[in-house]
Assembly symmetry: C2
């Protein structure tokens, strides 16, 4: 049993401890008070995964629902905190967390309270068309929830349902804003030519404007968002796309310390290409959309300098700067919003969110991003109050348990452990990245898909991103003792 | 007090009763047992609408949320059955029902039970990524809910969040299916050229295929669905669109009996144009999408013969036939699905749903509409089990109370009353339409927007569609005594 410093917030000192000794058993010393006292002390694997019950249930589900992307069936009544249960009695430490979308643990008691409240029941059975008939408490739900955590400088929200439509409604806002400026302001009426041509999907009414995104980006899978997604061919093949430009995203070399100059040059090259495309692309660019960390495309990072450069270029060219925080938002990087790491002088024009928020939408600050007339940015439901109530409870739980701070601290601890593993097993832990980014950590490994499958037999549910990255997306309640279990098992997996 | 036949299911005889006498007071004889005994006996209007509390709350909400499309703020704790309450003590008979999306009444007790169940709480706080980690009960939730009411011939579902993404995922399925056939079957691999070109949003990987829709159609507001929406310029202006074709939708003349030949010729003309576009449009047509009744675009109807013609043409040309039942589905036309009225010999290839289902998605039957590889039709949440549970409860309630039958009967009764009004006030009730289509009834009126506003002061919440139609979209629990109140007040409104 190793000596894990009991209450060390200074991660550096912990990082110097011998990792391998610290990971000799799943029953580790608990350095911190557990957030979920009723969690198991470690994973439990009692059958091959998938086991017999899972196989049977999957065959049944397959009759009516495509299960080829299925990872495993889960018993959410038996899942708790960081642990996900399957139908065969297996209980796995979940560092994938429903594709990075579970924030505060399975069966979180505070969320349960919100879910079982009369206000929730009322919102579920009397779902309003929010744009027409908002509920009396909608302003309060927004102000005590979604807007309480609005990014600095942004005080408005348009609510949506999931990441794709959050991004697409943001794009729509950008296009309307762009054309309004071209037209000469909000008071200038649409021309008859615009009105006639848009009914035929032709310009000028349906203008050939574009949203610029980056190589390897992921922004969703509907037609507009998919046109900005550049992660994998399988996401895009056979689906018509808009002729929108993609800029190169910096391909940084690791460890960062050893490639500082090279990486800075690479980022400059990408910024120059962004500016060139803004100036030259045949379909004028209304907005640039970027993830703080490219999360589906392989956990690709860039420096705060790069993002400050993007902000500067977009501002100078009157192009909106949309930050897609669907996967990075709500604490996972050790800040509430990942773009908080950049210290921007001017905030992004729009920030989109979903996943860990358990609802979706986009924040904005500039009142001119409200379209000049009603019903331009509109749909029947415009979000879902019941999901907004869940997000409010999530925010309360994050504040109560200081989960953003926890994620920063645990992330540093976890990163240090991974760094030790990467020194010991360099071939298995390549391009370790995410230092100082909470638990938003990844590395490349040669036989990635095999590792992900094998991990289940060690009681670890873990995901990949891009072609070769293992991505960690634990919940915000992931603590040092969970990190120890993860590190120990990662070593076992590669040693096998 | 008029003599409304007590238990007459034979609507014709009721229709011959003098309407005006039957509507002399809001406290009418109740011909049927009320579904909601605790409903008020009629609307109650105690202030101007919006009243002082509503104005104050709207100003507060406007700080953070665009309220220019707001109709009124509602108190959903005080709304019941067909009646919506505002913040000033006004209670309105609601025949708009959250843009046709409330099926079984405000604060329906059976829905409340489902909303307050442990299964609901569990699904709310442990939201799965359904494609990867479906819950153990997902197959059962589908089979006892969404799939129990699947349209004839369709036994699969892809779940979504709202009408727009239901349609867009259906379009994606159509494009993948089209290209798969062109490619030579599901086993044929993508070419290197396809793989490379799709990452640049270029064909052949991102092919220039199209979805055909109809003039005045509404299929949603995201980029793909908006490209098939042709309702109003304000829905489309400034948003880039795909170059997709639109066919004319029949413009029928009313009363139908007097224009049978003319209308049949009009439908033939439209069908010919559909076929011409399928053969000639420069971006090949993968699917035709159509609403059974164009619901946002002005309540435009066509005959079963027209839709049978569409099915025949699409089948002959290997083009998918997508029926958008987002607004017409779930009972409102007096059949569970509006396309049940057509008696098709071959079912639609895809039927999309949302609104009254309180969830969304598309049904299909052909297994080849499952893409040939996983992760092609995929997203993080792929719907929402908590919303699927609500739909299940809605289906149970529809069955328990025979609400589809109720809507057919009440609809005929209501239509007959409107027919009488249209004879008495022909200038105010033009082109009355929706006979035999349940309560899915509309008419044109010269000063429509004024009428809609005025209706509130008479205690009626009512909506419009297109440029000049008043559209009725009551809930499925709308009964004859509600119809009497509506008819009486409509007469008062136009008489004022």
């Amino acid at each position: 049993m190793a000596s894990i410093a009991r209450s060390s917030l200074r991660v550096r000192s912990v990082a110097r401890l011998p990792a391998v000794r610290a990971m000799s058993t799943t029953r580790v010393l608990r350095a911190d008070k557990p957030f979920f006292p009723e969690e198991p002390s470690g994973p439990k694997v009692v059958t091959a995964i998938p086991g017999p019950n899972n196989k049977k249930a999957a065959a049944e589900l397959n009759e009516v629902f495509d299960v080829r992307s299925m990872n495993m069936l889960a018993d959410y009544t038996k899942s708790v905190g960081n642990y996900i249960a399957d139908l065969d009695g297996n209980v796995l430490l979940d560092v994938y967390a429903q594709i990075a979308s579970i924030p505060v643990g399975y069966n979180n008691p505070h969320l349960l309270k919100a879910a079982a409240s009369p206000q929730m029941a009322n919102s579920l059975i009397n779902r309003p068309a929010l744009g027409n008939f908002p509920s009396a408490d909608w302003a309060s739900i927004l102000n005590t929830g979604i807007l309480k955590v609005a990014p600095k400088g942004l005080d408005q929200v348009f609510t949506a349902m999931a990441g794709s439509d959050a991004n697409e409604t943001a794009y729509k806002a950008a296009f309307m804003y762009y054309r309004q400026r071209e037209r000469g302001g909000p008071e200038v009426e649409f021309s008859e030519e615009e009105i006639a041509s848009t009914m035929n999907n032709q310009s000028p009414g349906s203008p050939q404007l574009s949203i610029m995104s980056f190589r390897s980006a992921f922004h969703g899978r509907l037609f507009g968002s998919l046109s900005t997604t550049r992660s994998k061919p399988i996401h895009k093949l056979d689906i018509p796309s808009f002729d929108w430009p993609q800029a190169p995203f910096p391909q940084l070399k690791y460890p960062l310390e050893e490639h500082a100059q090279e990486n800075a040059a690479e980022e400059q090259r990408c910024l120059q290409e962004v500016e060139r495309l803004i100036k030259e692309f045949h379909n004028p660019v209304a907005a640039v959309v970027v993830e703080p960390i490219q999360s589906e495309g392989g956990d690709n990072h860039a420096s705060p300098a790069f993002f400050n450069g993007l902000r500067e270029i977009t501002k100078r060219h009157n192009v909106l700067f949309i930050v897609d925080e669907v996967q990075t938002g709500v604490g996972a990087t050790g800040k509430f919003w990942a773009h908080d790491h950049w210290n921007l002088q001017t905030p992004p024009d729009i920030v989109t969110f979903s996943k860990k928020a358990q609802t979706a939408g986009y924040y904005y600050g500039n009142p001119a991003l409200r379209p000049n007339k009603p019903y331009r940015q509109f749909n029947t439901w415009m979000g879902d109050p019941s999901r907004a109530l869940i997000f409010r409870a999530i925010i309360e739980e994050i504040e109560r348990l200081k989960l953003v701070e926890n994620t920063a601290i645990t992330g540093d601890y976890l990163y240090a452990g991974l760094e030790r593993l990467s020194q010991q097993y360099p071939e298995h832990f390549q391009n370790l990245r995410g230092k100082g980014q909470g638990t938003f950590i990844a590395w490349d490994t040669p036989n990635r898909d095999e590792i992900l499958v094998k991990a289940k037999s060690f009681g670890i549910n873990i995901g990949g991103s891009g072609a070769s990255a293992v991505r960690l997306r634990p919940m915000l309640i992931f603590q040092k003792h969970h990190a120890d279990i993860l590190l120990e098992n990662l070593e076992k997996i590669i040693k096998q």
